[in-house]
């Protein structure tokens, strides 16, 4: 299986995404669930950066590298990953703010005990 190293980083991303989704679905604590959502998002970082990698390449910053002397990795995915990080951080902040209020209003952070909305 010489092909394995060529897909391994992608498979890691898939694994991380599914692990996060599993944790989210079976979570017994909303703070843990928010963490699991961040895990899902981490999968997108891994996938984006893996997609942009180039063998033997360095960072796409030319302050100390003469342009054209060395291959560089894809800068676009790095910019996308940066956007993604910011989005993830803000979503996490908002979710945690909501969890704080859930804890206050319901007195619990266990999703099994939230029974106000159903049917």
């Amino acid at each position: 299986m010489t092909a394995v190293p060529h897909v391994l980083p992608y498979l890691v991303a898939v694994w991380v995404f599914l692990a996060g989704a599993y944790g989210l679905a079976t979570s017994r604590n909303l703070i843990h669930a928010v963490g699991c959502l961040s895990v899902c998002q981490a999968a997108t970082y891994v996938l984006l950066l893996a997609v942009g990698y180039r063998d033997g390449a360095t960072a796409p910053v030319f302050s100390d590298v003469e342009p054209g002397t060395r291959p560089v990795v894809d800068p676009v995915v790095q910019a996308l990953a940066l956007t993604d990080v910011v989005v993830g951080a803000t979503v996490t902040a908002l979710l945690l703010a909501l969890v704080v209020q859930v804890a206050k209003r319901h007195g619990t952070v266990d999703p099994d005990e939230l029974t106000e909305l159903r049917g």
């Binding site: 989704a21 679905a25 928010v34 989005v87 209020q101």
Partner: protein, 591 residues
């Protein structure tokens, strides 16, 4: 003119920044006036651009025009459908703000700017998504509208239900957004491009679709269908809509959910439509199955609700199903019909939510059973509510009726029955509420013994959104739904509007090569009348003989699916991706 496209985003953002800047020191009236003025100004800009959108406007942000066919910048597409959605969003936003004018008790005190600022940010996100021609840029604006929607939904933090509904909404939608981003990354890996049209071209150049294209399709559609609340991605919607402040509900149900459908239409037409995308038959199968399921489950659950906002939320789900069926035909006629239907539905649904908000603020409840006969004095609201219900049923000449009849013709065959039934059942449920709440008809619904444990969300125990329960309904609160209903009526009745929509759709999809004509047909009018009569009949039976159409015991498993448990919803999302993959699988096996 095309250079002005980014201003659809920039103007409301500047307004929001201004409000955030001075929001703590200015009086509420000023903050609200700024909010209304900026959103209305954006609406004017959107309309001006829309009138100029033939041929479609294409703008490269930052002036990065393509060199040798390729650009490094972000493309904005100002075609009829995109600008039409932006205009719809921008017209509904000032309506929602005007509705909340002086009535919605927007906390926090001493920060009068925060609510209108959030609404402006919401508008900016939705406009940005509507005109995005770049897949990643669409994701960014998609996230902006999501983030603002979570905050607006949980706005009334003192209410236990509000924060729970907002949290569920946020978790499910964020997971959907990350699935969308995974899909974008996969497509980027294959094609090395981010602009939708470019991705489509590169996919075509690569060859017939394979597992990678299928996975990209499934993941991208998962994100958009979560937003569109298609079964089985829909569970978040009733929970969120039942708890969000009324002006926010108007925007969520009126345009945000529809933007999910619009996004599906956009990526299908640009990314996956070529020989390198997915074969039409497979896309059609996926959308038809999900659309029919969505319409059926939405309509059925709508009928079983007594919490009026939840009832309206399920009716939105049912109508999303009908929209998906329409675009699932992948024909120009289907697109025309859905476009008209979405416009009409936005007006009707927002007006219905606005009327429900009046009930909440006046009586402190949105429970059909508790409110029995109590709203008799509100004659004007009763008329508006009933008119909205008839619009929902598709009574000609509402825009919904024209859109529905055009779509029915495009869909054809047995699926017409789905259209007639789904609109009749949802409108019947709304008419039932009208008859009981505003007219006090029928026996007062009895609470069965041991009803405490019934598996449902009642509408009592909701707090009014005004500081005190209203003794008199402010004029703005009745004027807004009246204007919205007039708009929905005009969409169907004004001659030439339907043709303009058809022309815009044709230019957006076939560069104007294929012309369709959209008009009232005798069959369409007849079907509209049939669903209206059916709705009235259903409502009459339900009011006179409540037992006959009450939810049977065997409906309980269906209701139990809506458990309010975020883990369940995530599990269903995973199942949904698998279902989507299986439905479109033949594309890869045969190709």
């Amino acid at each position: 003119m095309r250079h002005l496209l980014p201003l659809l985003v920039a103007v409301p953002l500047l307004g929001a920044a201004l409000l955030a800047c001075v929001g703590r020191v200015v009086p509420r009236a000023f903050a609200e006036a700024v909010g209304c003025a900026v959103s209305a100004g954006t609406a004017a800009l959107a309309v001006v651009l829309l009138l100029d959108a033939s041929p479609p406007l294409v703008e490269w942000a930052g002036g990065w025009e393509p060199v040798a066919g390729h650009s490094v910048g972000i493309v904005l597409v100002g075609d009829g459908p995109g600008l039409g959605m932006a205009a719809l969003v921008s017209l509904l936003t000032p309506a929602a703000l005007a509705y909340s004018w002086r009535s919605f008790d927007a906390p926090p005190r001493g920060n009068a700017g925060s609510f209108p600022a959030l609404v402006l940010l919401f508008q900016a996100g939705m406009c940005g998504f509507a005109i995005a021609g770049d897949l990643f840029n669409a994701f960014v604006w998609f996230e902006l509208m999501s983030v603002v929607a979570y905050a607006l939904t949980g706005h009334r933090v003192e209410e236990a239900r509000a924060v729970q509904g907002a949290l569920t909404f946020a978790v499910v939608n964020s997971l959907g957004a990350y699935a969308l981003l995974m899909g974008i990354a996969l497509l980027y890996a294959r094609t090395g491009e981010l602009a939708m049209a470019e991705i489509g071209r590169e996919l075509d150049a690569y060859g017939p679709p394979d597992a990678l294209v299928l996975a990209g399709f499934v993941l991208v559609l998962t994100g958009l269908l979560v937003k569109a609340a298609a079964v089985p991605f829909h569970f978040w919607l009733p929970d969120a809509h039942a708890v969000a402040p009324t002006p926010v509900c108007m925007l969520l149900s009126g345009v945000m959910v529809e933007l999910g459908v619009f996004g599906v239409w956009r990526v299908l037409g640009t990314v996956f439509s070529g020989p390198g995308g997915l074969p039409a038959a497979d896309v059609e199968r996926a959308l038809m199955v999900l659309g029919a399921l969505t319409a059926a489950i939405g309509a059925l659950m709508c009928w079983y609700q007594r919490h009026i906002k939840r009832l309206l939320a399920y009716s939105t789900i049912a109508h999303t199903g009908l929209f998906l069926l329409g675009i699932g035909t992948l024909t120009l006629e289907g697109d025309d019909g859905v476009a008209l239907y979405v416009v009409g539905h936005a007006g009707v649904k927002a007006a219905l939510f606005a009327c429900t908000g009046i009930l909440l603020d006046r009586f402190g409840s949105v429970d059909e059973h508790v409110l029995h006969g109590r709203a008799r004095p509100l004659r004007g609201v009763a008329v508006l509510f009933t008119a909205g219900a008839l619009g929902l049923a598709g009574l000609p000449p509402f825009g919904t009726a024209l859109g529905k009849s055009v779509t029915e013709e495009a869909v054809g065959g047995p699926l017409t029955v789905v259209y007639v039934l789904a609109s009749a059942v949802t409108a019947g449920a709304v008419l039932r509420v009208a008859a009981r709440v505003f007219l006090g008809l029928g026996p007062r619904p009895q609470e069965a013994a041991g009803d405490e444990g019934a598996y449902e969300t009642t509408g009592s125990g909701e707090e009014p959104e005004t500081r005190q329960p209203l003794s008199r309904v402010p004029d703005t609160m009745t004027a807004v739904p009246a204007v919205l209903l007039a708009g929905a009526l005009a969409a169907g009745a004004v001659p030439g509007f339907a043709d303009a929509v058809a022309r815009a759709m044709s230019e957006a999809t076939t560069a104007g090569l294929v012309q369709t004509s959209v008009h009232w047909t005798p069959v369409g009018v007849a079907l509209g009348l049939v669903s209206t009569l059916l709705a009235v009949g259903l409502a009459a039976v339900a009011v006179v003989r409540p037992k006959l159409l009450a939810p049977p015991a065997r409906a309980l498993p269906l209701r139990r699916l809506q458990s309010g448990h975020v883990g369940d919803y995530v599990a269903w999302l995973l199942v949904g991706t698998t279902v989507l993959g299986v439905l479109a699988l033949p594309a890869v096996l045969t190709g």
